[in-house]
Symmetry: C2
Subunit: 324 residues, 2 copies
């Protein structure tokens, strides 16, 4: 594996450019005030993980069609909508090293901009010939909302168990990645077995991605990661390292973590970080993510090798190798 | 016209019951925390204006099918979603004489519950055979978001003109009513001309409805109307009576209104109400709404008479006759 991800994804460069164009066209409004607000969204545009999943899966399973570009645009819009609404929820002040919409323009604009994005994603999706994509996207966003609702229902629940944690991140993050792969495979004409395996790939990759994201939120470096860190703790969200710590650390360390989590001390994030870092709880969370990446990799192991398959494989590995 | 609206709408009673059931089924979750939150939504359930528009239009133009029940449920969910998100926006403390979701459970739960509703509405809509409904609902919600965004872009713009005001309320309220009528007609097999006329009916009725709502917000009685009043003024939203007043009242009265609008006096709503009531600006707004109701009525005048047509006609009249 010497080729870089950028070289490997070159096989879907044309389609990715089409996604960019479709994204802009779909969101263009006759109202200047809407276009001004939409411009802020471009600041959120990140690594295009979800469009890549659609396009690379399609290319890995067969040929790309116009539907792949449409779906790739749809999933990116859905993802942007969740980011915009997450910022309302989290009151985050940093996102992709830029000011968030709600910080710049108020919560109202952020709620409405998120609604605008989600509405356009469904609108665009329903331009496809069949309801297959719309129905799956609808089912997926249902689950994403459930994951977010389950998450806030467990806010400040320091007894959250690993199973429920995994249920939350599966819904809020992984099902959309799985949908990307299912739709990528479907529109490339993949059979049911192949589509199911691609779903496993997306789901496993998505869960691993979120575990890694949560690890970074706890012990990452703000300049490298590029968004507010420690926000899980600030918002009373239990993540895997903390859950593991409260299950395995010496009793007095567990008690200390609990009291820190419940406290309002200004440097609690720093204190929690210093408490957990010397334990093996970060390593445990990493090993769980690594297992999931292995599962993702084995579900694409029987695909005939090409750049798209190699890129998917590299992406899966990269998910847990992101810089701290 | 002696029969009451309740008697006339009896012709769609069975289908309305099916809508209620479909609404509950679609929103049911495997997660108890989601079901608890969804229960709050039932407190928002109001007059079912939009489902009635779908079902009565269908019955007025032909026969009702399963698609009508699906669409009627979809539009009610879309409407509920806008109410839930409006409450985040407006920070309203009263809605339908009950506590709002955001007041009870925080802004986050309200944002997510609205998202859950909108997601399920698209999910349900994409269970229909063709993309026609999904595409039109998507286009409609695009416009609803634009209307809301145009509204907040004009917050505290005391120079808002009547044309822009009408553009806002057309998008944020009337296009959904128009979509109800278009889809009701479409799934009853109506031809293009009839469908277009039903669109005019829904659009005119919707604009009239919003003008009347805005009049009630200014001069209605809180116990009769059953929600927070004066919220338009509190939120810097210019409505038709105020726009007319600032165009036609004596200069010193105009100046007084402007200074009141810009002030933070605790009784400003009361003062503005007392300033505008003796003018003819309320009557002007009412006459504009009445013109639109006439337009709605004339667009259904050539339909063969039956209870559904009579009910639509009565609903159009009722829109501007709601108690103050």
């Amino acid at each position: 594996m010497t080729a870089s991800l950028a070289q490997l994804t070159d096989c879907v460069r044309t389609e990715l450019a089409a996604v960019d164009q479709l994204f802009a066209e779909e969101l263009k409004s006759a109202l200047p005030c809407v276009n001004t607000l939409v411009k802020h969204v471009s600041r959120f545009r990140g690594k295009m993980l979800r469009p890549y999943l659609v396009l690379l899966t399609g290319k890995a399973c067969g040929s790309l069609a116009r539907a792949h570009e449409v779906i790739a645009t749809v999933v990116e819009m859905v993802h942007m909508a969740t980011l915009v609404h997450d910022d309302v929820l989290d009151d985050a002040e940093l996102r992709r090293k830029g000011a968030t919409i709600n910080h710049l323009r108020g919560n109202e604009a952020a709620v409405l901009l998120g609604d605008y994005l989600i509405s356009h994603s469904y609108h665009l999706c329903s331009s496809l010939d069949s309801q297959y994509g719309s129905r799956l996207i609808g089912r997926t966003t249902n689950e994403v909302c459930e994951g977010e609702l389950l998450q806030i229902a467990n806010r400040n629940n320091f007894d959250l168990d690993e199973e429920t944690y995994l249920e939350i991140i599966k819904r809020k993050t992984a099902v959309l990645c799985a949908a990307c792969c299912v739709l990528g495979a479907h529109y490339a004409g993949a059979d049911e077995i192949r589509t199911k395996r691609m779903e496993t790939f997306g789901l496993s990759l998505g869960i691993a991605f979120q575990i890694q994201d949560d690890i970074l939120d706890l012990v990452g470096d703000v300049d490298t990661v590029g968004k507010s860190l420690g926000s899980d703790i600030e918002k009373g969200k239990m993540t895997l390292p903390m859950i593991h710590f409260l299950r395995t650390a010496p009793a007095e360390h567990q008690a200390l973590l609990r009291s820190l989590l419940a406290s309002k001390e200004p440097d609690k994030v720093e204190q929690i970080r210093n408490l957990i870092l010397p334990s093996n709880s970060i390593a445990y969370a990493k090993s769980r993510a690594a297992q999931l990446v292995d599962r993702a990799l084995s579900s694409i192991a029987d695909l005939p090798e090409n750049d798209a398959v190699r890129a998917l494989s590299l992406m899966a590995r990269y998910v847990i190798a992101r810089p701290m």
